[in-house]
């Protein structure tokens, strides 16, 4: 595109995504501006930006949630557009409105679309209304008198959930209808006991569910395409760790079905800009879970197989340009896997880790979207995700082989990361077989455990440590060469 309606784009985010967005912005000849909290002053993104404005807040995170400051910063640097990245204010309809009201282009969907999909109940009803698959359920509140009867209609196995509940408490799985009423009673009394509220709802239970999501793009001219799916089943506490595309779980038929469902939902909403429709998949069926109205962390794998730069597409759409291509022009080639590198200690309950980035070496021939650089300090101020490693291969097996190499070659010294854990994960036979689901990691705690230290590894570590530690090295170097050569001898 030659005449952009904005000359400068302000990135209202930090870390790896800010770097990634700036990269595309600058490659298009646009000016990349950024806001930052003092804690990020020396970060890669801030150093990369053409203009940087400091923002303040009670906490570092608080600064990035201050919409007014951000809009003010955009005005000050003359930014004609704001890209919100993911997290922070990216799905904040009020912020989107305020940006528009300030005469600045918001790189994302309309505030109404944000609001619709942000309300999970509204979204679910909207999607069901369009005839798209949603998980069968029976909500007591809708009509308490008919609750049990409606519950019987929910396909087995089903999950009885307390309406006021959370954290897996009080949920009961029911696999046969003859125990349904008894279980409902028990669930009710537990709900009363734990949450002071005995109201329930019943949802179809997908055993060992897989998380499949579909990338969609819509322009301001009513065109909507999907850019195929991503599988994000390797999770821990609902946090994604590994994402890949194509999903090894889907037949070509199912793939087409899910993707077209997602596109259909987006079309029904008149969706504009980038978004992701998330589904839960199991036993050959899939149900709508939710829609995220922003660019997602794992978008790079889609970029790899489709050859598209999603941030570029987002900017074009925001500038009012038409997509210029149809669904049949969107090809998927090869296989891509993304690994989230976290500052955490998998062997010790995944506790977040901190420390200086004394050495950083990224593997060759691998896309690494990173927010950190050598010399930085990893602190507890922000999210522990440091970087994303994106590996491409001819097929899944090839991608996994390359991933093993890439993860081994990723060097970060000074702050513990999860790379060794990721290597063990992709070597697990279930992963290799493509047989993962969202409960996979919890079912295999051994993967997180550190393997026993081999003797030769121990020797190598102690040898390396000894040779770089002055208190050991200096006295050894002081020994005269005669005595060093004679060695351990006595008469």
């Amino acid at each position: 595109m030659n005449n952009w309606p904005f000359r400068s784009v302000l990135v209202a985010n930090r870390g790896e995504i800010a770097v990634r967005i700036l990269r595309t912005v600058q490659s298009l000849g646009l000016e990349g501006a950024i806001v930052y909290h003092a804690a990020d002053r020396d970060s890669k993104a801030v150093r990369m930006a053409d203009k940087a404005v400091e923002i303040t807040g009670k906490t570092p995170v608080g600064a990035y949630l201050d919409g007014a400051q951000i809009i003010d910063a955009a005005r000050r640097v003359g930014a004609g557009a704001i890209h919100p990245g993911y997290g922070f204010l990216s799905e904040n309809a009020e912020f989107a409105r305020a940006v528009a009201a300030a005469g600045i282009v918001f790189v994302g969907p309309t505030p109404e679309q944000i609001e619709l999909m942000g309300d999970k109940v509204r979204a679910r009803a909207f999607v069901a209304d369009g005839g798209f698959p949603v998980a069968p359920s029976a909500i007591e509140d809708d009509d308490p008198a008919t609750f049990v009867e409606r519950a019987r209609q929910v396909p087995l196995p089903l999950l009885i959930k307390p309406a006021a509940g959370g954290g897996g408490k009080g949920m009961r799985i029911v696999r046969s209808l003859d125990v349904l009423e008894a279980e409902i009673e028990r669930a009710r009394s537990e709900g009363q006991r734990y949450f002071g509220d005995g109201r329930l709802y019943v949802e179809c239970y997908v055993e060992n569910p897989r998380h499949i999501e579909v990338q969609v793009l819509g322009d301001t001219h009513g065109n909507v395409v999907h850019l195929y799916e991503r599988e994000c089943s390797v999770q821990r506490r609902f946090q994604k760790i590994v994402e890949e595309t194509p999903s090894p779980a889907l037949s070509a038929e199912l793939r087409r079905e899910i993707c077209e469902t997602a596109a259909g939902i987006a079309r029904k909403a008149g969706y504009r800009n980038a978004g992701t429709v998330e589904f839960i998949f199991g036993n050959g069926v899939f149900y709508f879970l939710e829609m995220n109205t922003r660019l997602q962390v794992e978008h790079p794998v889609t970029e790899v197989i489709t050859g598209k730069d999603l941030v570029h597409e987002q900017l074009r759409i925001a500038a009012g340009e038409a997509l210029g291509y149809g669904q049949e022009d969107v090809r998927s080639e090869g296989h891509a896997i993304e690994f989230r590198i976290y500052a955490e200690d998998p062997a010790r309950g995944f506790t977040p880790t901190t420390g200086p980035v004394l050495t950083l070496r990224e593997p060759a021939d691998t896309r690494v979207d990173s927010g950190i650089s050598q010399g930085q300090e990893v602190t507890a101020a922000f999210d522990p995700m440091l970087a994303k490693l994106i590996v491409a291969g001819r097929d899944r097996a090839d991608a996994i082989a390359r991933a093993e190499r890439a993860l081994a070659d990723y060097v970060l010294l000074g702050c513990r990361t999860n790379t060794a854990f990721l290597r063990r994960l992709i070597q697990h036979p279930a992963f290799v077989a493509g047989d993962v689901h969202t409960g996979f990691l919890d079912a295999n705690p051994a993967i997180a455990a550190e393997p026993e230290l081999k003797v030769d590894t121990l020797h190598a570590l102690l040898g390396a440590g000894a040779l770089v530690t002055r208190s050991l090295r200096d006295p050894a170097d002081l020994v005269p060469s005669l005595h060093a050569a004679i060695g351990d001898w006595s008469n």
Binding site: L358, R361, V411, G463, L467, A476, A484
Partner: protein
């Protein structure tokens, strides 16, 4: 061979000596030849146990971080004097004595309290200067000998810790 590295929860004793070529790692009764050759790209070639590996090493203070065979490790160096002094116990450490004559200004602990090494236990005043006295080791206060306001001579036992093992 009083040096040690801590790796996670394990402590490993070791020594290092120089040979005619390279070095020797001393582990208990074992001696393992070892060499480390820094490379231009910031990595290093480590020769040990007959294997040559490419490693990355970074240090900060007594922390050594090593990237080896695709995994990162964190070693903490422990100096012999630090290790051996932590084993210190003894009759000298059963009491807090007055370094000079003076009077007691304040007590920070009372009999029966658990104290940790270097924790401040009382404040004395002498020659118009206040000095805070600390516990010589972890332990339990057995007796506070001088009350606030009382005066004492040099070397007087101001506070007694329960002997170790009691």
């Amino acid at each position: 061979m009083f040096h040690a590295f801590k790796l996670d929860d394990n402590e490993y004793d070791l020594g290092l000596s120089r040979a005619a070529q390279g070095y020797r790692l001393h582990l208990g009764d074992k001696t393992v030849p070892v060499e480390l050759h820094p490379q231009d790209d910031g990595s290093a070639l480590l020769h040990i146990d007959g294997v040559r590996r490419r490693v990355f090493i970074a240090t900060r203070g007594d922390d050594v971080f090593v990237h080896l065979d695709g995994a990162a490790y964190h070693l903490r160096y422990e100096h012999p004097l630090a290790r051996l002094s932590h084993q210190a116990h003894g009759s000298a450490d059963d009491s807090v004595r007055a370094p000079m004559p003076g009077s007691v200004v304040a007590h920070h602990v009372k009999a029966g309290d658990s104290v940790s090494r270097d924790q401040s236990v009382l404040v004395i005043e002498s020659m118009k200067m206040e000095t805070t006295l600390v516990a010589p080791r972890d332990g339990v206060v057995a007796e506070i000998v001088y009350a606030v306001g009382q005066t004492f001579e040099r070397d007087a036992v101001l506070l007694a810790l329960a002997p170790v093992g009691e």
